[in-house]
């Protein structure tokens, strides 16, 4: 696993991608830093991180797009998949390589609050909490990017696809406000989820019995909830959409609240997409 990690991380600096990522990331942060902190004489450095999120929507696809698509295009995946390494090790190694590059960018930008601290008091606690939150949020983005990259052998498609998904995540609050409320929509979504679970299981094990059983189990759970607590379905659609609100959850960190549940949420979100990546890499062998 460390071999793949080293190769991927080193590869960022063999090509221009690593340098480009770091340059653009630091540059954009520097621009916000100059405008918000230096020119406006504000010590609240942590607020600018929420603006940097927009750049991340473009930068993350750039560092994740080739991770798997290039392997399958150059057929080097044959080397990895026939070597004594497990698929999840390959996926994690690539994920950590991209995360390490992202962390590197974050560490470089730490220079700005340090500069700031020479000229007055900075809200240290809030800045640290914002950085931690920002890092975990970035890991979620990277997990999404790796998953999309494993679906195609075309880098450009992977890059644009990742950007599309990240943009939807960025817009999710607005989308949440737009979704209709009502019990019928909630129930409809629940049934849809049961069907998707059934299809996912069928896709994984190719056995109609298991897929019907697993879909059915969730359907029964849904029915029980419907009879015990029907008001659950009133806001189910809204809650479901908002459970993808990766970016708006970040705002808590900006207030200096080190919210442990959000960290757990981020880790779960990333782990979910890493699991999907492992499945999609594995799936190619069975096609």
């Amino acid at each position: 696993m460390s071999a793949i990690f080293k190769r991927e991380f080193g590869n960022y600096f063999c090509s221009f991608i690593g340098y480009a990522f770091l340059t653009i990331f630091v540059l954009v942060t520097a621009i916000y830093f100059s405008l918000y902190n230096v020119l406006s004489l504000s010590p609240d450095y942590h607020l600018i991180l929420s603006n940097v999120v927009i750049v991340l929507l473009i930068l993350v696809p750039i560092i994740t797009m080739r991770l798997f698509s290039e392997e399958s295009k150059q057929k080097t995946d044959q080397l990895l998949l026939t070597a004594p390494v497990k698929v999840y090790e390959i996926v994690l190694a690539k994920f950590f390589a991209a995360s390490a590059l992202f962390a590197m960018g974050l560490i470089i930008t730490l220079i700005f609050p340090i500069i700031l601290s020479f000229f007055g008091n900075v809200p240290t606690g809030q800045i640290i909490s914002a950085y931690v939150g920002f890092f975990f949020m970035g890991m979620c983005f990277i997990a999404v990017g790796i998953w999309v990259s494993s679906l195609t052998d075309n880098q450009v498609v992977a890059g644009i696809g990742t950007f599309g998904i990240l943009f939807v995540l960025f817009m999710i609050e607005a989308i949440g406000k737009g979704v209709p409320e009502g019990r019928n929509y909630g129930c409809g979504l629940a049934i849809l989820i049961c069907i998707i679970i059934g299809l996912f299981v069928y896709n994984s094990v190719n056995n109609i019995k298991y897929s019907v059983i697993s879909g059915g189990v969730f359907f029964v759970i849904g029915l029980i909830v419907f009879f015990v607590k029907p008001e659950f379905y009133d806001t189910f659609l809204y809650n479901f959409v908002m459970s993808f609100a990766v970016i708006s959850k970040f705002s808590k960190f900006m207030l200096g609240i080190f919210d442990f549940t959000t960290i757990v949420y981020y880790i779960t979100f990333a782990a979910g997409f890493i699991y999907l990546t492992v499945r999609s890499v594995d799936k190619k062998r069975w096609s």
Binding site: A3, K6, Q74, K75, D77, A83, P84
Partner: protein, 351 residues
């Protein structure tokens, strides 16, 4: 060492591998022979765990390639059809990466790299980026990658493709020397190559094993020449009549003439007599001259027919397959073309 049992592989409705079973014992060199698209690469991909079989099992040194994937894979070195090379690494960096991937001990990595570079003769390009190497060198780096870590089984998918004649001989020698300590499986569509290197040959067509036997027995059958390409000089009418009169020649095919004043034919006889002698006697008694006699090499497709008709081990099922082969005569023509190309390669390599 390696046990393959009733392997099937479906791609949607198309079945690429149809029930292949075989075993390879320690230290054996097994050759897969078959035209393009016969299922050689798919079979190899399944054995190495890159693809999963739709049905059937593969056991590498007792470990199942699906259930005990980790242990099974650590015993295999694999060179796929396209060598899996990272274009933006140098040869040394790449080999080091493979060493680490295959969990070679840190203290042994340097020796291992020098050793494999020496074996496939790539030491002088070790600082070059892989993308700047020629096809032949890339292939050699691919072979180096496969033998890193001294795996017990080495699987090579068309190891000599893209190499020049001298390199082909070098690589064949490398493979032969590997065969002393390792079990080797290699695939090829070049008959002479398989004959030269392998202890045992399996002929695969349409996803099935058409025949398998030792190379000696296979080549025995093939050495009986009963088809000649000849170039004759004389009066065309006399020649044609004389040839037609000769009872032992069962088939005469007129070819395009290559030289002015001479005539080209392909002559065929049954297996029990030497056509060259017959032709010589015939030429003397009819007063024409023989300019060229050249045995016509059997195409791979003809070998299939030959092998399945003679007393080689083959299943009853395979005979049914043969019938469908005849139906696919269009395919066969295409494959013959491929074989012509490969027999050219053979000539080059024999130089």
């Amino acid at each position: 060492m390696l046990e393959v049992n009733n392997l099937f592989k479906n791609y949607g409705s198309y079945t690429a591998v149809k029930g292949i079973s075989f075993t390879v014992s320690d230290g054996e060199i097994l050759g897969f022979l078959g035209p393009n698209g016969a299922g050689k690469s798919t079979t190899m991909n399944i054995i190495t765990g890159y693809l999963s079989p739709s049905e059937g099992t593969v056991k590498v040194a007792g470990f199942d390639i699906i259930k005990d994937a980790y242990k099974a894979k650590s015993k295999i070195g694999y060179l796929p059809e396209n060598p899996p090379l990272y274009q933006d690494m140098t040869v040394d960096e790449y080999l080091k990466f493979v060493c680490r991937l295959k969990k070679v001990k840190k203290s042994e990595i340097q020796n291992m790299i020098e050793d494999v570079k020496d074996k496939v003769k790539i030491s002088h390009v070790s600082e070059k980026l892989i993308k700047n190497l020629s096809k032949g060198y890339k292939q050699r780096v691919g072979i180096a990658q496969a033998i890193i870590g001294n795996p017990e089984i080495i699987i090579l998918d068309e190891p000599t493709s893209g190499l020049d004649p001298k390199q082909i001989i070098d690589i064949r020698n490398v493979i032969k020397s590997l065969g002393k300590n390792h079990t080797v499986i290699l695939s090829s569509h070049i008959l002479s190559e398989v004959q030269e290197i392998c202890d045992r040959v399996m002929i695969i067509n349409n996803g099935k094993i058409v025949a398998q036997d030792t190379t000696e027995r296979l080549s025995d059958t093939l050495s009986k020449t009963h088809k000649l390409r000849v170039c004759l000089k004389g009066d065309i009418d006399i020649i044609e009549k004389a040839l037609e009169k000769e009872e032992k020649i069962i088939n005469i095919e007129r070819q395009e003439d290559k030289e002015e004043g001479s005539f080209d034919f392909i002559l065929e006889t049954d297996e029990n007599c030497d056509l060259r002698e017959i032709l010589f006697d015939n030429a003397i008694s009819n007063g024409y001259k023989i300019l060229v006699i050249k045995p016509v090499e059997m195409s791979l497709e003809e070998i299939f027919m030959e092998v399945t008709n003679s007393d080689f081990e083959c299943d009853e099922e395979n005979k049914e397959e043969e019938v469908s082969d005849e139906k696919n005569s269009e395919d066969a023509e295409n494959e013959e073309k491929t074989e012509n190309i490969s027999s050219d390669e053979k000539k080059e390599s024999d130089l």
